[in-house]
């Protein structure tokens, strides 16, 4: 589990806050100006945006966003990375799947603030220059989609599924890919794509 307690990337001066907080270890995310006023470590005003730095596809992105912003909305609405899709927005469909560290998660239920300091990988970060990632190529080769809306989530999930060691049989692939719903029911081709890409990904 990465340490996401650090506040250095938010520009928040922890020392100043601690001095005023009677030794407390609670770290409210505050607007920078308020945080530096050690005599009045005012709690964050929920109506004001907060500073967050997200590390997305290898680059730090500074954001000034509402505390309610999910990773999905941060990607789509604030960083212009619209590859991750909003399907249900309740963690039920998997269209928003991204990797945080090496784990696949649903970005619609992950607060951006809670993802600070962690490596986020989206579908846009998968290809190397002009070369598709083996899983992307496998989805093309196997026609593993119809409308394509669930595809970015399917691919991100599939990359993790392989690396977890859960792509050793069709039954395993179906079970461990069950968090990604495909309304077009391209499932047989998705399974075929994951099978095709798995050896290449495991080879590195």
């Amino acid at each position: 589990m990465p340490d996401n307690s650090s506040s250095r990337q938010s520009g928040f001066d922890r020392r100043a806050f601690m001095a005023g907080a009677a030794g407390g270890a609670l770290v409210p995310l505050t607007a920078r100006a308020a945080a530096q006023d050690a005599s009045a470590p005012a709690a964050q005003d929920p109506s004001l945006p907060v500073d967050v730095t997200l590390r997305v596809n290898g680059a730090d992105k500074r954001l000034h966003i509402d505390a309610r912003t999910t990773v999905l909305d941060a990607l789509r609405e604030h960083l212009g990375l619209t590859g991750s899709k909003k399907g249900c927005d309740h963690g039920q469909c998997g269209a928003c799947t991204v990797l945080i560290g090496d784990r696949r998660v649903v970005s619609c239920l992950t607060l951006a603030l809670a993802a600070e300091g962690q490596e986020i990988t989206t579908i846009e970060g998968l290809a190397t220059n002009d070369r598709l990632h083996p899983m992307q190529q496998a989805f093309v080769d196997n026609d593993a989609f119809q409308c394509g809306y669930c595809t970015p989530g399917q691919i991100m999930s599939a990359v993790a599924c392989v690396k977890e060691g859960h792509a050793n049989s069709e039954a395993d692939i179906r079970e461990y890919m069950s968090g990604n719903i495909c309304r077009c029911a391209a499932y047989p081709n998705i399974v075929a794509a994951v099978k095709q890409a798995a050896p290449e990904i495991m080879k590195g």
């Binding site: 589990m1 307690s5 609670l26 709690a43 309610r68 999910t70 963690g91 784990r103 998660v105 999930s157």
Partner: protein, 338 residues
């Protein structure tokens, strides 16, 4: 979603303080103005639905450094409350010594959600009752105490048949909790006055006349660990649902047996998907102890497990289904090679 103040707790005391400050004894914890954030898979979902409306969120993920350990020793098993469901499900020694735990976790939710969700958050997961989750229904005793229950005569196919009251029939949705209650787990709770432990069976409260109170946790208390004594290699978690994967249980059973020379020395049976709380079927267990297993005994045990069950218009099928699940789980446990 309503706006909230986001705070990170970097040590347990401060998390407890932040959560205590916002809580009052009269306000049920589920409606406390400050809520802990672990995996967020229930909390953020219910905040988007406006079912939960905390003014402050205390992110306890930084505590995972000390609260996510998975430890096996000669006494048994200790699981940190912030361990991820996926990590515990994939743990080879837990798969060997506690298959009921590993499988209850593996069969829950999806790979993505298991990567996010923690054990502590999972046992605190709130019901999937569609009337509870939809605030356009005013009559939900769990959300609005005293307002009535829309599920009682509504579409209640997914609802509970055990542990219900005339106030609430919402089913407890989790899987892992059935494994814990079957294995007589204890839960370690960190609060204002330090750490206390109690039987996991005492954590959840049946709805009775106050469905809004779901656990015996006090304001500011956090689950920090679970512990299980001994090892239970002969144990299974069987789950039936509307689709093969990624679905809540219609009926599930956690079964653990200690069989020596064909005689059942100890037996544990817990039921999921059919009850308002994690459900231990002690009457069923009593029938198994000291006996040799056969199909007739399995049938009597299953009948005993559901003797008190009470179905409503759409969920009576769960009684017949649940008995078959118990029977099948027992058969699996008896015949498994360990």
């Amino acid at each position: 979603m309503r706006s909230f103040q986001y705070q990170r707790a970097t040590d347990p005391n401060m998390a407890v303080q932040a959560l205590s400050a916002a809580a009052t004894a009269t306000n049920p914890l589920t409606q406390a103005t400050a809520q802990p954030l672990a995996g967020g898979t229930t909390l953020i979902d219910l905040m988007k639905l406006d079912v939960m409306r905390p003014a402050a969120i205390v992110d306890i993920n930084p505590l995972s450094r000390s609260w996510s350990a998975i430890e096996l020793n000669s006494d048994g098993l200790r699981l940190g409350a912030l361990a991820k469901m996926s990590d515990v499900a994939a743990h080879a020694e837990i798969q060997r010594s506690y298959p009921v735990i590993a499988n209850s976790l593996k069969l829950a939710a999806s790979a993505q959600l298991r990567n996010m969700a923690t054990l502590g958050g999972n046992v605190m997961q709130r019901t999937r009752c569609s009337y509870f989750r939809d605030i356009s229904y005013e009559n939900c005793n769990k959300r609005n105490p005293g307002s009535g229950c829309a599920a009682m005569d509504g579409f209640n196919r997914m609802h509970a048949v055990l542990g219900t009251s005339d106030q609430c029939i919402a089913s407890y949705p989790g899987d892992f909790a059935q494994a814990l209650i079957a294995l007589d787990a204890t839960v370690e709770i960190t609060g204002k006055s330090g750490i206390r432990s109690m039987p996991f069976a005492e954590l959840h409260k049946a709805p009775g006349n106050s469905p809004e109170i779901e656990t015996t946790l006090q304001p500011g208390e956090l689950i920090s660990a679970f512990a299980v004594r001994g090892r239970w290699p002969r144990s299974v978690y069987l789950k039936t649902r509307d689709r093969q994967s990624y679905e809540f249980a219609l009926s599930s059973a956690a079964v653990a047996l200690d069989v020596q020379d064909g005689t059942i020395r100890d037996a544990r049976v817990a039921l999921g998907g059919v009850a308002t709380v994690p459900w231990r079927a002690r009457e069923a267990e009593a029938l198994l102890k000291g006996r040799k297993f056969d199909d007739e005994l399995a049938r009597r045990v299953a009948d005993a497990a559901f003797a008190e069950a009470r179905g409503r218009r759409h969920n009576s099928f769960k009684i017949a289904l649940g008995k078959r699940v118990v029977t099948h789980a027992l058969q699996q446990a008896v015949t498994m090679e360990i």
